[in-house]
């Protein structure tokens, strides 16, 4: 597995499976990740989707996809994947379907679906060892309904339901759920985090995951210009900042064994990342909330202090 097709950015496959023309916002990080993910997976794919921004990627009778798409429901895309996988398997086994018609089954959901309403079905599918890919496009809130807080929203962030007020000056007071650890605790063959800023890292991870049968789970940080409050042109820059500040660790776990695939040698201060987005503006204006910024920095430092080099 040490030999990889992907050495530099020039190795990104040219073939497009997601062609231009979708109603999603310009600069949507989720779309960037999906396009990249698809290039690594190849064309024989069925995407199984839960309600979220990505759902609106295709609207009848148009689709930008050159692969198959199945919108299921917000709580149960992994169960939808189960039905498709099992149906393909049994039809092939019974000789009713030519094996050349087989497909890779890929769930794609937002963080709200992944960490809240869909956690039950996600856990079920991992537990049963379902042979599928799961790509969670994490924009850290319920994007499609107007950027309300999800349990994946970071502490200190302002969302449509965690607006900073004199009573709650820091915005969101709850910590971000650690979905990586929740998934890892199920001991699937493969779990990874990826970022649209680290393209080769992401491609290699998908390439590696292709070697495993069973659940292969990917958490992608997906900057959201509309919700985060930044320019569409800055999505990749913001994603890179998150990685360089140590806020979004790039890592993988094979059967539960964690490895960091990129360790920022000198981490950027979290402040650089926070300052660049409107959703954290209340931490700086009208007065700088040193305490909360320091707490966010402390949590990041604590995380990395436990990472072995």
């Amino acid at each position: 597995m040490s030999v990889t097709k992907y050495r530099t950015i020039k190795d990104v496959p040219r073939e497009e499976f997601l062609v231009p023309g979708t109603p999603l916002c310009a600069g949507c990080g989720a779309l960037l990740v999906m396009r990249l993910f698809h290039k690594a997976l190849g064309g024989d794919v069925v995407w199984v989707n839960a309600a979220g921004c990505i759902t609106l990627m295709a609207t009848f009778p148009y689709t930008p996809l050159r692969s198959s798409w199945f919108y299921t429901a917000m709580p149960s895309a992994p169960a939808g994947a189960q039905g498709i996988r099992d149906a393909l398997d049994i039809l092939i086994k019974k000789g009713k379907l030519d094996p050349s018609e087989n497909l890779k089954v890929v769930v794609i959901t937002g963080d709200g679906a992944a960490s809240d309403i869909g956690l039950q079905s996600t856990s079920g599918a991992i537990h049963r060892g379902l042979d599928f890919f799961y790509l969670c496009v994490d924009n850290e809130a319920y994007g499609n309904t107007g950027f309300q807080a999800s349990s994946s929203s970071p502490i200190g962030s302002g969302t449509a339901t965690t607006k900073p007020t004199p009573l709650y000056p820091m915005g969101n007071v709850l910590p971000k759920k650690d979905l990586f650890e929740i998934w890892r605790s199920h001991k699937p063959p493969y779990v990874a985090t990826i970022s649209p800023s680290h393209v080769v890292d992401a491609l290699r991870k998908v390439e590696k995951a292709l070697n495993f049968k069973g659940p292969k789970l990917f958490l992608a940080l997906c900057p959201c210009p509309t919700g985060w409050g930044m320019e569409p042109s800055e999505s990749v820059k913001l994603a890179r900042l998150a990685v360089e500040a140590g806020i979004w660790p790039l890592k993988e776990a094979v059967y539960g064994e964690v490895t960091h695939t990129y360790i920022p040698l000198k981490r950027r201060p979290v402040e650089d990342y926070l300052k660049a987005q409107r959703r954290f503006a209340h931490l700086f204006k009208p007065v700088k909330n040193e305490g909360i910024i320091a707490e966010i920095q402390r949590q990041v430092d604590e995380y990395w202090s436990k990472v072995e080099r």
Binding site: G43, D44, V46, V48, T55, L56, A58, T59, F60, T63, L65, R66, S67, S68, W69, F70, Y71, T72, A73, P75, S76, A77, P78, A79, G80, A81, Q82, G83, I84, D86, A87, L88, D89, I90, L91, K93, K94, K96, L97, S100, E101, N102, L103, Q120, S121, S123, G124, H127, R128
Partner: protein
């Protein structure tokens, strides 16, 4: 053809086996459990070549069932009561995907208060979802209607999912003599499922995608409506083939002593057997009564109902369900079917009975018929549904309360 003593649960499991289903996603709930236990065992013994998978909830189970059917597998599953309601979101989706799976609902009243006994609030809540609905009176019918359900659901003029309703305990755990159809005959009645636009590598499809232009939504819903209406004729065609193969037949409705009756009781499901007994008894007493059993509830067999009920003096609709604050769910449908007839019945009496498995006595049937006939003679109408509750039952409630309070 083999004769066997089977419970309703065993019978529908046999139907799934004879239908050669490919996929059985499941989640346990009383009184449905026997069905999935039997099927899981047959799969584990290799007696059925299917995948059985126990899901983590009904919501997930319905999703998996729907996507598998859309992928081209013949899918069977079963649930009951709160299970059906927990997965409710997916019923509309499955119908919208035009995924023709078959779901047996083992009827059980819905909490609160919690009970295990049947009525039809669970299954009738699914009335508007796009699922076809078949209601079985006895164990033989339960088995046969599952075969019918596949035949009708998978027909390309229909392509809608189906629910077959069997009453919990009264059918699920009651053993009756059943004619078990021969496999070769079932194969003839039920050709292989031939899915439309399934998901394949060579031909990418998009399913369940949003329609953001309002007329498109109506367009799809109207198509589903027409497809469901087609199911009436497809059912009749199927009944002819079924009769040739098995020498018994089914119609969307069943008449019992209706022809010369003045008053007709309308019912569905297993309690219709008690209704038929009551009709026989009342006939002996000189009452000209009959019973009309609704077997196919969606699509609604309006023409058959008109044929049976036009010109009658009174119709007594016994709803084993309650839309709280209104009355029965079936009665307004019967009334609407008859309203425009010149010779419509003088009285359509809505009756609520048998909730949560409460028995309906001969005396209650007699009482309801009497009330209807009296209203007819007075040229009056009912002021609200008749809620049947017997004196002995009231006494029972009182004594239980007394015991509990230490009195």
């Amino acid at each position: 053809m083999v004769l066997k003593m089977l419970t309703g649960s065993q019978a529908v499991a046999w139907a799934a086996r004879l239908a050669r289903v490919d996929y059985i996603p499941a989640y346990p709930i009383t009184p449905q459990t026997e069905i999935i236990e039997i099927l899981s065992e047959w799969v584990r013994k290799g007696e059925m070549e299917a995948i059985f998978v126990q899901m983590e909830s009904e919501h997930s189970l319905f999703t998996a069932a729907g996507t598998a059917a859309a992928t081209g597998a013949r899918v069977f599953t079963a649930t009951s009561s709160q299970g059906l309601l927990y997965g409710f979101e997916m019923l509309y989706s499955i119908a919208g995907w035009r995924a023709p799976l078959v779901l047996v609902n083992v009827a059980r009243a819905v909490a609160a208060p919690i009970t295990l006994e049947p009525d039809h609030n669970d299954v009738l809540a699914a009335r508007d979802s796009g699922f076809l609905q078949f209601h079985a009176e006895n164990v033989q019918e339960a088995l046969d209607l599952v075969l019918f359900a596949y035949r009708v659901a998978e027909d390309h003029r229909v392509l809608l999912p189906a629910i077959v309703n069997i009453d919990g305990f009264h059918l699920s755990f009651t053993r009756e003599r059943v004619e078990l159809p021969e496999q070769s005959f079932v194969d003839e009645f039920l050709p292989e499922y031939n899915p439309v636009n399934p998901i394949r590598a060579s031909e990418p499809v998009a399913k369940g995608i949003p329609v953001l232009i309002p007329p498109l939504y109506s367009f799809f819903k109207y198509q589903m409506h027409m497809a469901s209406r087609n199911a009436l004729n497809v059912f009749r065609e199927a009944a002819k083939d079924f009769e040739k193969l098995f020498s018994r037949t089914y119609a969307p409705v069943e008449e019992y002593m209706v022809e010369d009756a003045d008053t007709v009781i309308v019912m569905s499901n297993s309690f219709a057997s008690a209704g038929k007994q009551a009709v026989s008894a009342l006939r002996e007493e000189g009452h000209k009564v009959g019973l009309l059993k609704i077997r196919l509830f969606r699509p609604f067999p309006t023409d058959d109902i008109i044929k049976s009920l036009r010109g009658k003096k009174c119709v007594v609709v016994i709803d084993q369900n309650i839309s709280v604050g209104k009355g029965g769910i079936m009665c307004p449908e019967i009334a609407e079917a008859l309203y425009h007839l010149e010779d419509r019945p003088r009285v359509i009496l809505p009756v609520i009975a048998g909730l949560g498995g409460k028995s309906i006595s001969l005396e209650e049937f007699r009482y309801a018929v009497r009330v209807a006939e009296r209203l007819a003679s007075l040229k009056a109408g009912p002021d609200g549904p008749l809620l049947l509750f017997r004196e002995d039952e009231a006494i029972l409630v009182e004594s239980l309360l007394k015991t509990a309070s230490g009195g």
